[in-house]
Symmetry: C2
């Protein structure tokens, strides 16, 4: 099955299928697509990734991907620097920014503790978070990690590290998604949303 | 949704999502994957496509992708050069080679006539096929294109071009797939397989 008539083609297929979620059959289709493009376009294609990897800048403060040492969110005068939202990666920053509800700043861990995948506390930017909180005036840390076992583990680890600093530490609410019907919500989520019920008058505030 | 915090990231996402079947969300996931790889690995990744596009060689005879001007199939002394199987692209060559049933050579069109996509007879290597057949001793042309409208159109166009040369021109059989149940086979396929029925003793030969 994997006998390709050309080593160049084979190399391109191997590179494409090194990407997550791309199998060899898709990789072959993508390589044939590449062969039909203008050489100048393919040069731009290949170089975009090399450039991204070599020249990427992470914000000195929040470690989000940035064009400068100080990202546009951290540099924004209207953002509340005392509230830090802890997220896994840039996708979560974008998702929260899209809500238009958050005016604080972020701390991007760049991963999540996952013993299964060999990712320990030192592989994500927890030390940097602790340093930052020690050096800057912080009123609240909002944990906004995925509601998975890895997310819960990371939450707990960060909580233990920050406990002694006497900060207000919160997590985003777990509950029934907006638009979801109760009968299709799983028990754990429903249980959590009952436990963390809020005063009705407070929901009117939004 | 598409406000990325970095131009480099945005460019990489745009390049990934220029590939067929890859949306912006997947592209972002792939770009973040790239950011976690070693720079040397990413360099190899990006350069594989540039190198493929710039240095690809097509066989002088059959136009299959090759490492040399004369591909390994055309160069093989055991292949019958008088039987030419016409296919769309390298994937079809690989699929037919995998059957282990074919000992002739190929002609790779590099596409298929598709008025919908603006691909005409001159955009695929039909002229080259006619030249080849005129100059080389050929006993049979086997049309092995997809059983789609585009495939049928291309078959008919090639047939018209080669008709006057008095060659044996065949197409691969259309019929019920091996392992398929009759009741789930569509009418057209079943009709064709009835029309093109073969002598039972001939099926025993394999």
């Amino acid at each position: 099955m994997d006998e390709y008539p050309s080593k160049l083609l084979q190399e391109a297929i191997e590179q494409f299928s090194s990407l997550p979620g791309i199998g060899r059959r898709t990789a072959l289709r993508l390589a044939l697509f590449i062969l039909k493009q203008e050489p100048s376009k393919v040069k731009q294609f290949g170089n975009a990734f090399i450039k991204l990897r070599n020249e990427v800048i992470y914000c000195n403060t929040c470690y989000n991907i940035s064009d400068t040492d100080h990202c546009s969110i951290c540099a924004h005068p209207g953002r509340n620097k005392e509230i830090i939202c802890v997220v896994e990666d840039v996708r979560d920053v974008m998702a929260i920014e899209n809500t238009g509800q958050y005016k604080g700043v972020y701390h991007v861990l760049g991963g999540i503790i996952s013993p299964m995948e060999g990712i320990g506390p030192d592989d994500v930017r927890i030390k940097e978070l602790v340093e930052r909180v020690k050096n800057e005036k912080t009123s609240e840390i909002i944990m906004a990690l995925s509601t998975t076992m890895e997310g819960d583990t990371t939450n707990y680890f960060i909580f233990k590290k920050l406990k002694e600093l006497n900060l207000k530490i919160t997590t985003i609410a777990r509950g029934v998604a907006v638009g979801d019907e109760l009968e299709y919500t799983d028990e754990q989520t429903l249980g959590r949303s009952l436990m963390n019920r809020v005063l009705y008058v407070n929901t009117l505030a939004n």
